[in-house]
């Protein structure tokens, strides 16, 4: 990489507080600073309830921070309106969920096409890209199946294909292997590794150290603060309380 590109993700003193109807506040994130450069593979770990998903939802532009700034590719997204955020989600981010989140009545290929539909691509282009993405996750031949007719691991691969079709700069995955056995988990994580090798920036939330090991960099969150940010191999569980 020659010319200095802006980081894919840059957050500065990011706060998130949930406001309840009853008037109580739940402060969850207490000022996070984080930079992720293009081509990185980052795992985010932390105990349950530490705010990982809250952070991921903000990174995925599904939610807005209460305070602080968030830049994607150098563009400030934390002040964008709903339509602009929808475009960012559609074009800049590929999101993979723990529960796959496929449309259960629609075929594998239809599910893969939905992001392209909201991008406004023509049918022919949609077909071409969908076939390519499905080939990438080794699902060629399953195009017309329904999600209920394939295994969980395959469903997650459909979700990854769907996340890839609009060529986003960033792949985000919140516990993508949480619903999968260890063998399928490995398959899914190998796909993320391959994608990272091809140049995609990948951020994965997990609470399994085995899964985190696929990443190069680890960010450890506890009580809404970053407690560790560095090489995966140098992180010792329990050492950072």
């Amino acid at each position: 990489m020659s010319a200095k590109l802006p980081p894919v993700i840059k957050i500065a003193s990011l706060h998130k507080t949930y406001y309840m109807d009853g008037g109580q506040n739940y402060p969850v994130l207490h000022g996070l600073d984080l930079k992720i450069e293009a081509g990185e593979f980052v795992a985010i770990m932390g105990p349950s309830g530490s705010g990982k998903s809250t952070l991921m939802n903000i990174l995925g532009c599904l939610d807005k921070p209460t305070r602080g700034e968030y830049y994607i590719d150098g563009v400030l997204v934390s002040k964008m309106n709903q339509d602009e955020l929808a475009d960012v989600r559609n074009q800049k981010i590929g999101f993979v969920f723990q529960g796959f989140n496929l449309l259960m009545q629609r075929s594998i290929i239809d599910n893969t096409k939905i992001p392209m539909m909201y991008l406004g691509l023509t049918g022919a282009e949609q077909d071409e890209r969908a076939m390519k993405a499905l080939a990438h996750v080794k699902l060629t031949g399953f195009e017309t199946r329904l999600p209920t007719q394939i295994s969980g691991g395959m469903q997650q691969r459909v979700a990854i294909a769907r996340a890839l079709v609009n060529s986003p700069s960033l792949l985000l995955a919140d516990e993508p292997t949480g619903n999968l056995d260890s063998k399928t988990s490995d398959e899914v994580m190998k796909i993320f590794t391959d994608l990272n090798r091809e140049g995609k920036t990948v951020v994965v939330i997990t609470h399994e150290p085995d899964v985190a090991r696929y990443a190069k960099r680890l960010v450890y969150i506890k009580d809404g603060l970053i407690k560790y940010d560095g090489d995966v191999k140098k992180f010792k569980a329990g050492a950072n309380g």
């Binding site: 339509d83 929808a86 989600r89 559609n90 989140n101 496929l102 009545q105 992001p115 539909m117 023509t122």
Partner: protein, 410 residues
């Protein structure tokens, strides 16, 4: 191509896919609109048929007519006893009133008429040439009797199409000679067919002749110059009331009524009566259509209900779509189009069904049921209005869903 058009088309096809995915539910919902639109279309057609029938029957009467007829004379403040007498000279007096363009004193009686061996009993009307205007008679062939016939009391008649059928079996009667009693009359003209009158009577079973001819050659009334009524036609609807007042003044003068005496004649404003009859017809159609409209309202509530159910069932789908980049406008459009498509299909099917049933019913009952472009416009308008009205609330509900909340929904 514009990106937004491509997206809009894709969103429309998503709407269509979800309609197809729930075939039974979509069909039942559509049925509500089909029934509603069908009912409205039939009722509108029924109303129009009734109005057409009324108009056709009223067409037998000339426009802007005032009818002058006798009143029962008052005796000691009580009505009853003898009828006053209207005479030809009353008609002559009315002729001078401003804005009066035709005056026809009318003698009406029933007579047996004969042609060769054929006999037929029919209404005989004796009047002036103006009766062509006041009675709205048009000539099919030959001519109407004219002023010269009037002056010379020439034995000529003009006959209606029923007489042509009965006496001449449809052949051209002009120039033929018929007999009334023993008197021969030459048929001068044949009238255009009018059809049934308001009371259902045959308006074409009629023989017209000059009143002078009637007096000289038939003489049916005990009192010379007596007529049953006078029809007076006003040039324009605006002048009717004024003309009515003028006629009253003129008649009181001709009839030498004392200033404190009540009128011994009645002047009816036919236009007023016709308008009343027509408006009854119109109110009837509106009433029928409104009642049918209720079923349409029920049908659209059905769509709204289905859409609300659909939105809550598909909360998660909406969350997924938003999470992968659907704008609020795309979500709104998807659900609104779903509702509009259902109501559109329902309206079109209902319209075709309604028109078809109307035609069948008309054919069975022997009425000409009109198919109006209004019906088509109405169905299209209903499709859009109902679709939007029933779909907007559910679609807004879908649009407002927070993607994170929606994704959590099981």
């Amino acid at each position: 191509m514009d990106r937004r058009i491509v997206i809009a088309r894709a969103v429309a096809s998503e709407a269509w896919i979800s309609i197809k995915a729930n075939k039974l539910r979509s069909f039942l919902t559509t049925l509500g609109i089909i029934i509603g639109v069908c009912a409205v279309v039939i009722m509108v057609a029924a109303g129009q048929t009734v109005q057409n029938m009324i108009n056709q029957q009223l067409s037998g009467i000339g426009a802007n007519l005032l009818i002058i007829r006798p009143e029962f004379t008052t005796q000691g403040g009580l009505r009853g006893g003898t009828q006053s007498i209207i005479r030809t000279n009353d008609a002559d007096a009315i002729r001078n009133v401003r804005n009066i363009i035709a005056v026809s004193p009318m003698v009406m009686t029933t007579r047996q008429i004969a042609y060769k061996s054929q006999n037929f009993a029919t209404q005989l009307i004796a009047s002036t040439t103006d009766v062509a205007k006041t009675g709205n008679y048009e000539i099919e062939s030959g001519r109407f009797f004219d002023e010269r016939d009037m002056r010379g009391a020439v034995p000529v008649v003009v006959i209606g199409s029923t007489i042509q059928q009965e006496l001449f079996h449809g052949a051209d009667p002009v120039g033929e000679v018929i007999r009334i009693g023993n008197v021969p009359f030459t048929v001068k003209g044949l009238l255009k067919t009018k059809g049934q009158g308001i009371g259902g009577q045959d308006q074409d079973a009629v023989v017209l002749m000059p009143i002078t001819t009637f007096r000289r050659r038939i003489f049916g009334t005990r009192i010379p110059n007596r007529v049953q009524m006078i029809m007076a036609q006003v040039s324009d609807e605006r002048f009717i009331e004024e003309a009515k007042l003028q006629i009253e003044v003129v008649l009181r003068e001709t009839r030498r009524l004392k200033p404190d005496a009540e009128n011994d004649f009645i002047i009816d404003n036919m236009t007023e009566m016709l308008n009343t009859i027509r408006s009854v017809g119109l109110y009837l159609s509106v009433l029928l259509a409104s009642i049918a409209g209720i079923s349409l309202v029920v049908g659209s509530i059905g769509i709204m209900n289905m859409m609300l159910v659909s939105v809550s069932e598909r909360t998660r789908e909406i969350g997924i779509r938003k999470a992968i980049g659907a704008k609020n406008s795309s979500i709104l459009m998807q659900f609104l189009l779903e509702s509009i498509l259902i109501s559109f299909i329902g309206s079109m099917v209902g319209m075709v069904l309604g028109i078809g049933l109307g035609q069948i019913a008309g054919a069975v009952m022997g009425y000409a049921v009109p198919i109006s472009y209004m019906t088509v416009l109405l169905a299209v308008a209903v499709a859009i209005v109902v679709g939007v009205a029933a779909g907007i609330v559910p679609a807004m509900k879908a649009t407002r869903l927070d993607p994170i909340e929606a994704l959590r929904y099981q």
